[in-house]
């Protein structure tokens, strides 16, 4: 856990004025408000209180109360990714959605589901699986992560390549705005172009525009068979990248494609096929032909846990997400190697066929390396890529997590001002200080 910094004593009005916490207790019930503990810190900043509303009306009323009182609020689902983003510039209240954990509606024949924001991803998927369906997303820590949390952080895994990101799966959202407005957008049908697409705007906004109270998703059928994963060992990052691009450019209908690479030149490519037994076999054969220049290893579905495994005992490591053109993955690896070698830092990467990748850095001089990451980021940005710093060792909180939001940043600021004019929600946590 990062060092704790109290947010009191800042310039916020809330720091000096007496806060009428009894009003909050009246909204959500006294048993659902408690003083914050060290474990409630958000990127090292300790809030004063934690509130757990029972439903979206209570949540909206809480938000409005906090907004009127000039408090800063951090929404929280399962809390698995609270460190993502910059530390809040102010923080008074953590607003937890964990009591809002119900599946509101699952009409399996329509292949849609409406879920409350605080529902745990794994529990939702288990329920959907009874009808052979799922939200086609494989986020980190599904047992802990909530629907609202994965949406706000836009977390996606290997399934994205075939089924799209959460933005492509969400079909409706209810947002609680800082002024207490509850606003719906989208709906519960798969195809719908009525009005602006706020479900997409809310996805990946890190809770800075409103708090997601519930969301509707389109569902996909689970594979009829267990599917099959092929793992292919290649000569290095260049070969792995080449294979990734060739498989992606083939007519195969894989549901996962990733390269696992590390500083010592090891590079493996995993590809997964699902569907009918005949289809899976035929596709494996075709993939083997494409990969004939490399060596096949024993495949195991465990390899799809590799992204999450990068996070095991993450405290003393740095974890970043990068995004590059799929053909530039090897070049990105070379940059990591160059920067890493200079600082004596080792790295491990899981890169997907989409051009998104995750890197774990380790080594003694990690703190100095945090600053070097900014140079690395600049290299990727020059090639239209980006680098998001998800985790750094304690003491590196000043390093900007996001990088450049580009020339549309003024529009983003205006969007933020429209939705949250008083800067109540997650102030300072998002790009460019939003």
């Amino acid at each position: 856990m990062a060092q704790e910094r109290s947010s009191s004593g800042g310039g916020a009005g809330a720091a000096t004025a007496e806060i009428a916490w009894d009003e909050l207790r009246a909204i959500v019930g006294p048993e659902n408000v408690r003083a914050a503990e060290p474990a409630d810190a958000v990127a090292g900043v300790l809030p004063r209180m934690v509130a757990e509303p029972a439903d979206e009306q209570q949540l909206a009323a809480t938000l409005r109360w906090a907004n009127d009182a000039g408090l800063a609020v951090a929404p929280r689902g399962g809390g698995s990714k609270m460190g993502w983003g910059n530390p809040p510039s102010r923080l008074d209240l953590v607003l937890s959605t964990t009591r809002m954990d119900q599946i509101v509606e699952h009409v399996w024949a329509d292949m849609t589901v409406i879920v409350q924001a605080g529902a745990r991803v794994a529990l939702v998927q288990q329920s959907l699986a009874k009808h052979g369906q799922s939200i086609a997303v494989d986020p980190l820590w599904p047992e802990t992560a909530t629907i609202g949390g994965i949406l706000s952080t836009n977390d996606s895994g290997a399934l994205r390549l075939r089924y799209g990101a959460l933005r492509d799966l969400i079909i409706g959202v209810t947002l609680a705005l800082p002024d207490g407005t509850l606003a719906k957008s989208g709906g519960k049908v798969v195809k719908n172009v009525a009005g602006y697409d706020l479900p997409k705007l809310a996805t990946g906004a890190l809770g800075t525009l409103g708090v997601i109270t519930q969301a509707a998703f389109r569902l996909h059928p689970l594979s009829a068979t267990a599917g099959k994963t092929l793992t292919i060992r290649t000569g290095g990052v260049s070969d792995a990248n080449r294979l990734l691009v060739e498989l992606q450019g083939s007519a195969l209908a894989h549901t996962g494609l990733q390269a696992r690479m590390q500083h010592d030149a090891q590079a493996e490519v995993d590809v997964r096929f699902e569907g009918t037994a005949a289809g899976v076999e035929a596709q494996c054969a075709a993939a083997r032909r494409i990969a004939a220049f490399a060596v096949e290893e024993a495949g195991s579905p465990e390899v799809w846990q590799a992204r999450q495994e990068l996070w095991s005992q993450a405290n003393a490591s740095a974890l970043v997400k990068f995004s590059v053109l799929p053909t530039r993955i090897a070049a990105a690896c070379e940059s990591f190697r160059r920067y890493g070698d200079k600082a004596g830092i080792t790295w491990k990467i899981v890169a997907q066929g989409t051009g998104l990748g995750w890197v774990r850095f380790e080594g003694a001089r990690l703190k100095e390396f945090s600053r070097a990451l900014l140079g690395l980021r600049a290299e990727l940005e020059r090639e239209a890529g980006s680098l998001f710093i998800a985790h750094l060792p304690a003491g590196s909180e000043e390093t900007d997590a996001w990088g450049s939001p580009g020339d549309a940043f003024p529009v983003m600021v205006r969007v933020k001002q429209q939705f949250d004019p008083r800067g109540t929600l997650n102030p300072g946590r998002f790009v460019g200080g939003i």
């Binding site: 049908v189 602006y196 289809g279």
Partner: protein, 482 residues
């Protein structure tokens, strides 16, 4: 429009880039929805993003509203000009700028025709997935504005799924880049909210598209049923079997007759016709198509044909894609609707449409994207018969209300535009609409970009948002609210 402003526009786009004579302007007075017509002050035909910027800067300074227009095939009046405003046509911005096959991206100007993107990359085995029925003439810029769908979006998604980045001239003339070539650009998903905003947030000047590898195998099956109810049961059966077909289309008897009269697709004369298309690896498609066959037989199909060649597949689709226009063969006038319902509500909603149709004495032909519940009821009437047009309009509204009541939407792919903006208040509450308009205020506080579309009324951007604004009487202490 005063001569000085017109002269300024001429200086930006050149003499040939300005249309201002009344007779030429008539070409632009409506889009594919022809019952709304407004003559613009001028039509401007820029050739570059810089020229669009120049035009929009003048509009911003002079407070002249503008409407961007692609090919004008929209069906909701999205490109309908506004009075005292100009139309910015993207027709001359029609270059495919870059094709990057290994990364599966294509960069185009907004006036590029949808099908030309596929044409450019198909020799290499790729295609551009969104396929609105107008794809041989509609533009990518228009597709971005409307978030166009098509028959294959059940599996492949909509325009928004395939747009990675957009270069936009904002309503104040600033040029910005939303999204980019790579995924998850830092910041808000502005491409996500811009696509489908129907031209109300700015003018698209460049688009980065994703292209898709053509599947190894595509098979199309045609199945005839006695009723749409039986055909609907087959659709449910296919979905329940865990398949995501590339497309499932349904036509009722009236639309089959129309299609036959127009393009001779050789459809069986039946009560409900299904087109089911599967694509993917050959072995996979073969196994699943067998299942589709069984399901259709089980649901009482009277005839099943599997297209044996690419030519036959094209003929299967020809009737479906021509259905809207074909209806002109059996009715002098018609209204196309675009409601969406949860698929399970299909039998109930169809029965109700039939009942309303009989009660009103107005025929309705039905064409659906059955896989995703997108209905295209075609309300047939004859303008020359006193009162029919009004009755048809009322019936069309009633059908959309049915869609809303069933938990659906007033539009699946045609957009709200001018046509359905008064229906928005039936689908969304005031706070919902006010919240959407916050986005509008962030992009276009003066509301110059395609004003008066989508929303039932404009929002003053200085207005305080929120569920509760005290009445002046309350503020004055004269009244209280309990």
């Amino acid at each position: 429009m005063d001569a000085r402003t017109l002269q300024e526009f001429r200086a930006i786009v050149g003499e040939r880039g300005v249309i201002s004579s009344a007779e030429e302007l008539h070409t632009y007075e409506c889009d594919g929805l022809t019952n709304f017509r407004v003559l613009p002050e001028a039509v401007l035909l820029p050739e570059s993003a810089e020229q669009v910027q120049g035009i929009v800067r003048v509009c911003h300074r002079e407070r002249i509203p503008f409407v961007a227009r692609g090919s004008g095939t929209g069906l909701s009046g999205g490109a309908l000009p506004v009075a005292n405003g100009v139309v910015i046509s993207t027709a001359r911005m029609n270059r495919i700028i870059e094709v990057d096959l290994p990364n599966q991206r294509v960069v185009v100007e907004p006036g590029v025709i949808n099908l030309d993107v596929t044409g450019k990359v198909s020799p290499h085995g790729f295609f551009y997935a969104p396929d609105p029925s107008s794809q041989s003439v509609c533009s990518i810029g228009g597709n971005v504005a409307e978030n166009s769908g098509g028959a294959h979006c059940l599996k492949y998604g909509f325009t928004t799924t395939h747009v990675l980045g957009i270069e936009v001239v904002l309503p104040d003339g600033t040029l910005v880049h939303l999204g980019g070539r790579t995924l998850d650009a830092p910041g808000y998903d502005l491409p996500g909210v811009f696509v489908g905003s129907e031209g109300t947030l700015g003018v698209t000047t460049k688009v980065i598209l994703r292209i898709v590898k053509r599947p190894e195998c595509i098979q199309t099956l045609l199945a005839a049923f006695a009723t749409t109810g039986e055909a609907g049961a087959a659709v449910s059966g296919i979905i329940a079997a865990g398949m995501v077909p590339a497309a499932i289309e349904m036509m009722d008897n009236l639309s089959i007759q129309a299609a036959e009269a127009a393009v001779h697709a050789n459809y069986p004369n039946c009560g409900g016709l299904l087109l089911v298309e599967l694509d993917g690896p050959t072995a996979e498609v073969a196994a699943l198509m067998e299942k589709v066959n069984e399901i259709c037989n089980g649901c009482g199909a009277t005839e099943i044909r599997l297209a044996q060649s690419e030519a036959e597949r094209a003929v299967f689709w020809k009737g479906r894609k021509a259905a809207f226009a074909a209806v002109g063969r059996i009715s002098p006038n018609y209204i196309v609707q675009d409601g969406v319902i949860p698929r399970t509500a299909l039998p109930r909603v169809l029965t109700e449409i039939e009942r309303l149709s009989e009660a009103a004495g107005i025929k309705v032909a039905n064409v659906f994207h059955a896989g995703d519940g997108n209905l295209h009821p075609l309300v047939l009437y004859d303008r020359r018969i006193e009162g029919q047009e009004h009755a048809a309009e009322e019936l069309a509204v009633r059908i959309l209300e049915l869609c809303i009541e069933a938990g659906g939407s007033i539009t699946g792919e045609h957009g709200v535009g001018e046509e359905k903006k008064m229906m928005m208040g039936k689908m969304f509450s005031e706070p919902d609409l006010a919240t959407m308009q916050l986005v509008r205020c962030a992009f276009d506080p003066l509301q110059l970009s395609n004003p008066s579309k989508v929303f039932p009324r404009p929002r003053l951007c200085g207005e305080k948002p929120g569920p509760y604004t005290p009445h002046p009487l309350e503020v004055a202490g004269i009244a209280e609210r309990f």
